[in-house]
């Protein structure tokens, strides 16, 4: 598992969010990929799409089920990771690194601070 750091935040829907200027990179957590099992299909949002925090904007499918991936914050889709569409297994192998989903240009970068830090997310996982 890649090292987590203080610039990474988490959601209760098991997305991770990494801040770099006004841009955040978004993916699903290692816990999420473990729960889902081997992914066979990923659908990403279209570039330039305006997404609202909590909005379903990507889909992951395993052999047995489809699951939504939610936008953790409000903003515009600035970049998407096409390599995971071609090879969804990258998400299983490196969920919090090479297996990122999309990048968002945030409407309000301050909203990043409202998400759970690693300690809070780890505590949240304990309650599940």
């Amino acid at each position: 598992m890649p090292a987590k750091n203080s610039d990474t935040r988490y959601t209760k829907d098991h997305e991770w969010v990494r801040l770099d200027g006004d841009i955040v990179t978004v993916g699903i957590t290692d816990h999420a990929q473990q729960q889902l099992g081997e992914l066979v299909f990923v659908e990403l949002p279209e570039l330039e799409r305006e997404v609202v925090a909590g909005e379903a904007c990507a889909v992951v499918e395993s052999v047995k089920a489809a699951s939504d991936v939610y936008s953790p914050l409000t903003g515009r889709v600035a970049e998407i990771n096409e390599t995971i569409v071609e090879d969804p297994e990258i998400v299983n192998n490196d969920a919090e690194g090479e297996g990122w989903f999309f990048k968002l240009e945030l409407d309000d970068p301050a909203t990043f601070e409202e998400l759970m830090d690693q300690e809070a997310y780890d505590e949240y996982l304990e309650t599940l």
Binding site: G37, F41, V63, K64
Partner: protein, 374 residues
């Protein structure tokens, strides 16, 4: 009203082997495993890995949630024939047959296996979710002895015959759909050469208290892992086999379900079973819709309840009843009902997946060829 969840005799055993347990048909059942220790050297676990292992080597499924019963008495076969479309009177001792309990209106009350155990009577295996309905229904024509203290294990895959040859040579000699009483590694069992994966394999009914012993003895053999309901479902769908409640039910006739072959020849002469006249009319007039295999274009699976439209998206012509991703097929696959004029192989369809049209084609079943011994 709080309902207690039932467990199979292998409940603790599953958890010890890293199972993720889920409720299914009132039972707590393993959907998949996260293997550790020696078993992890064979397979890491997970639906895809368990599925592929079963096709390559062999997998052991706990299907003890299914209903098992005996019908005693010389007249049982003839009496059961009032309710099923198969030839039961003509079923020879030591043979098993897939058949259907039908409804008066020509629907399917359940699909089941009936085995002729000779002097002992008939042995039935029915779906877990239909136990109460089936046994009450059959009880109206002949007494049913429900076997509540037995486990049912399915050993499936190309390595199954070799494993069985070492633990139960008599069982390994069974032909496809043959059935016999024999000891498996010293455990008294009732074994049939059948399954629900499209692979060669065996189903073993054993006393519940012996299930853990048998499972452990089996797993001492190489090339075998336990597998969960997740892999069981993707395996049966690749094999084009129906799941009761999804692909068949009280509102589907055997004809439109593509199960006309399950109506035995003799029964087609007289149609003297419940719903026979209605099913005969369906056969004579042609059903308005048919169950077909469907391959969506691309990689996105189309799941059950997905709406099926004409390729131009203008007309509703059907619905998917089972859909997912085939690990061996390495692509999405589905079964569903489509209007008769779209049921020929090669017919083009449009599936509505997350509000967008997904092109698809009607294909022959199974998706992955059966490998039964003949």
């Amino acid at each position: 009203m709080p309902e207690t969840i039932l467990t199979t005799p292998l409940d603790t055993w599953h958890r010890e082997h890293g199972a993720r347990m889920v409720p299914f048909a009132g039972y707590s059942m393993p959907v998949q495993y996260d293997f550790a220790g020696a078993m992890a050297e064979r397979c890491k676990g997970g639906v895809m890995a368990e599925h592929l292992y079963c096709r390559e080597k062999a997998a052991l499924f706990d299907v003890s949630h299914m209903g098992q019963a005996m019908l005693h008495g010389a007249g049982a076969a003839g009496l059961l024939e009032h309710l099923v479309c198969g030839d039961i009177s003509g079923l020879r001792p030591g043979r098993q047959r897939y058949t259907l309990l039908t409804t008066e209106s020509g629907g399917i009350l359940d699909d089941l296996m009936v085995a002729n155990l000779g002097e002992e009577g008939l042995f039935l295996v029915v779906n877990a979710s239909r136990k109460a309905v089936d046994f009450a229904h059959i009880g109206t024509v002949t007494p049913v002895t429900v076997l509540t203290d037995r486990a049912l294990l399915a050993l499936q895959g190309p390595a199954a015959a070799g494993i069985m040859a070492r633990l139960a040579p008599a069982a390994a000699a069974l032909p496809f759909m043959g059935v016999a009483r024999c000891d498996i590694a010293g455990v008294p069992g009732l074994v049939s050469r059948s399954g629900y994966t499209g692979e060669d394999g065996f189903e073993m009914s054993v006393p519940g208290e012996m299930a853990v012993t048998l499972a452990n003895r089996l797993l001492e053999q190489p090339d075998l892992i336990p597998a969960g309901l997740g892999a069981r479902d993707s395996l049966r769908l690749e094999a084009g086999l129906c799941l009761y409640g999804n692909d068949i039910g009280e509102t589907t006739s055997p004809i439109e379900a593509g199960l006309t072959w399950a109506i035995s020849k003799r029964r087609k002469m007289s149609w003297d079973f419940l719903g026979g006249p209605a099913i005969r009319a369906h056969l004579d007039n042609g059903p308005p819709r048919r169950r077909v295999g469907i391959r969506p274009d691309g990689r996105a699976p189309a799941r059950e309840h997905t709406v099926i439209l004409t390729p131009d998206g203008q007309e509703l012509i059907g619905e998917i009843t089972s859909g997912g991703f085939g690990p061996t097929l390495n692509g999405p696959m589905a079964m569903g009902y489509v209007r008769n004029d779209f049921s020929d192989d090669g017919s083009k369809l449009s599936l509505m997946v997350r509000g967008k049209p997904l092109p698809a084609t009607v294909v022959p079943l199974p998706f992955v060829p059966h490998r039964y011994v003949r």
